[in-house]
Structures are given as C-alpha cells and as structure tokens.
C-alpha cells in the first residue's frame, strides 16, 4: 500500500463511502514475536501458548498495541503528513491468533466543517476469515483544507 506522505489528502477531496486502502498481515510465529518486540508487552498470554490455554484461551492472541498500530497504519497512511488523528476508539471483540491472516480496512462515514476545520469520521476495523470482524473501531481525523 502506498503511503500518502507528501501526496497530501485534502478534506475537500474526501467523499462519504470512500474506502481507505487496507492491508493484510499473516500472524506467523515471527509476527507474534515482532509484536512483543514492537509493543514491549511481555504479558505471556500474547506469546506463550501454555499460559494462554491455562487462562481458558484456545491459543495466544495479538495484543492491544499491535491492533492499534495496525489501525493507525491504515489511518495515517491514508491521511498524509498533515492530517491529524483526533480520536480512535476500537474494541477487542474477537481474537487474532497465530495462523490467522489479519486484514485491516477503513471507510469514510461522514465529513463536516467545524470552526473552519475539515473533520472526517471513519470506520476502521481488523478482520480475519475465521471470525469476521474482530476489532471494530471508529476514528476522527482532521484534514487540511484547500485554501
């Protein structure tokens, strides 16, 4: 997926229903350990299958920091360098486990002008083939205006 970077997205160019470019990640054993490295979350339920099963879970599952980083990637790659993520809310309703392919997506729900600023409301989520949507979320982004 291309990163917007200098190809700045402007509020006037956003249309309700627009889809944000998504991406997928295979939750391999390597990815599980990248998760620990990248989040510095050493809670064993996210990398130790025996610990996870003792707690009543079928297997290890990725943590909140990993899911948030993935959703932030969807949003920030779309909004460009001068966009501002005002709010992100997401729920861990189901799990992304080792062996799953996690797919992250987003779409534009509404746009509004507030005090001269260009606000955009998004739906963002993570899903997999085993569970469907695992991590539904909403986000509010402020985009620069074409002045």
């Amino acid at each position: 997926m291309a990163v917007q970077g200098r190809s700045q997205l402007f509020w006037e160019d956003v249309v309700v229903g627009d889809e944000l470019p998504g991406f997928s990640l295979d939750i391999t054993a390597r990815r599980v350990f990248l998760q620990v490295s990248g989040s510095q979350d050493w809670y064993p339920v996210h990398f130790d299958p025996a610990f996870a099963r003792k707690g009543g879970h079928p297997d290890v599952f990725v943590n909140t920091g990993f899911l948030q980083a993935a959703l932030v990637r969807v949003i920030t790659n779309w909004m460009g360098d001068d966009g501002f993520l005002k709010k992100l809310r997401f729920e861990m309703r189901r799990q992304q486990r080792a062996g799953d392919t996690m797919v992250c997506k987003g779409k534009v729900v509404s746009t509004a002008e507030r005090d001269g600023e260009g606000w955009v409301e998004l739906e963002v989520w993570a899903e997999n083939e085993r569970e469907g949507v695992t991590t539904p979320g909403t986000a509010t982004v402020i985009l620069p205006r074409r002045d």
Partner: protein, 180 residues
C-alpha cells in the same frame, strides 16, 4: 482493605468501587525521551513504512520538521511509563484488587490534543474511572476496570487521554476446574 481470595464469594465489589473509583496516581515521567528506535520497532511489527515516522530526512521537509511518533496511545504510554526497565506491565492492576489476575483488554479510546515528536519527554498519571462485575464466558464473575491515562509532554501540555476498559478473570483452575 482485605485482599480478596480467588473465589468471588468474599469479593465485595461495592467496597472496591467506593475505595478506588476516582483514585488517581501521581504523575510519573518516562525514563527516556521519545526515541527513533522504539518507534522503528513499533512500526516494524505491522510493516508500517511511513517515512514521517521513520525517516529523519523526510520528516525535516514536512511542516513538522522532525520525526513524529505514530498516534498510538500504546506507544505514548510506552514512552511515558513502560519504557523503563524492569518493565512495569500494568501499573494499575495491583492498585485495584480483583479475584482473578488474568487480564484481557476489551476496548481502548485515545483522544489526541497534540502530536508527539522524537525528543519529547512524556509523563503519565492514571485514574480509575469505573469498576464493576459482569459475566463473560471465561469467568461468570469477571471484574472490569475502566481507567484513564493522561499523557503530558515536557511543557506540561496534555497530548492525549487514553481510556482503557479491561476485564480481569480467574483461570478455569481457580474457578474450581469447572472449565478447561
């Protein structure tokens, strides 16, 4: 308060609510400023190649003038409190007594007031917003904790507020081997 046992039969959630809702920790300052390599590892875990977070040369050409920290509440909290070693996984958890010691994050909401740049020095204070019991498949008497982390920078400007809802539960063995 008497520490509750594994069985919630002795756990008085109303007493816990009275004692802990509204509790706020002192402000803790991260040991290190926001730094490149922790951001690089964070981006690497989800293959995020955004040059605004990774490339100082690109960042210099932007309106920000420096590499930004991705707007992840998790990463902000890492720089404010989880960065020091030995790591403190969940400073809130020992504060609120719960029958089960297992944790699952259920939702998170992050509201941003300002961007974070490499070199900023973050601090955090935490407060307990709610504590309640609600059944889940893992534990019919799971205890839920709603907490906020308020992240500030070196100028004492608030940069974000993170509201986290987590459940705490007992293992099947702690529930008498009924499950698992």
């Amino acid at each position: 308060m008497k520490e509750p046992a594994a069985s919630t039969g002795t756990y008085d959630v109303e007493e816990v609510r009275r004692k802990y809702i509204g509790f706020e920790t002192a402000t803790a300052k991260g040991r290190y400023p926001v730094e490149h390599d922790a951001i690089r590892r964070h981006c690497h875990m989800v293959d995020d190649n955004n040059p605004l977070f990774l490339d100082p040369e690109h960042a210099k050409t932007t309106s920000h003038g420096a590499v930004l920290c991705p707007p992840s509440g998790w990463l902000a909290l890492y720089f404010a409190s989880l960065g020091p070693w030995p790591a403190v996984f969940e400073p809130l958890f020992p504060i609120v007594p719960t029958p089960g010691k297992r944790i699952v994050n259920m939702s998170q909401e992050v509201e941003w007031s300002a961007r974070i740049k490499v070199g900023d020095h973050l601090s955090v204070r935490r407060r307990i917003v709610d504590v309640y019991q609600k059944a889940v498949s893992l534990d019919a008497e799971a205890v839920w904790i709603v907490a906020e982390a308020i992240i500030t920078n070196q100028k004492d400007d608030e940069v974000c507020v993170i509201r986290n809802t987590m459940l705490t539960h007992r293992t099947p063995a702690e529930q008498g081997g009924v499950r698992g």
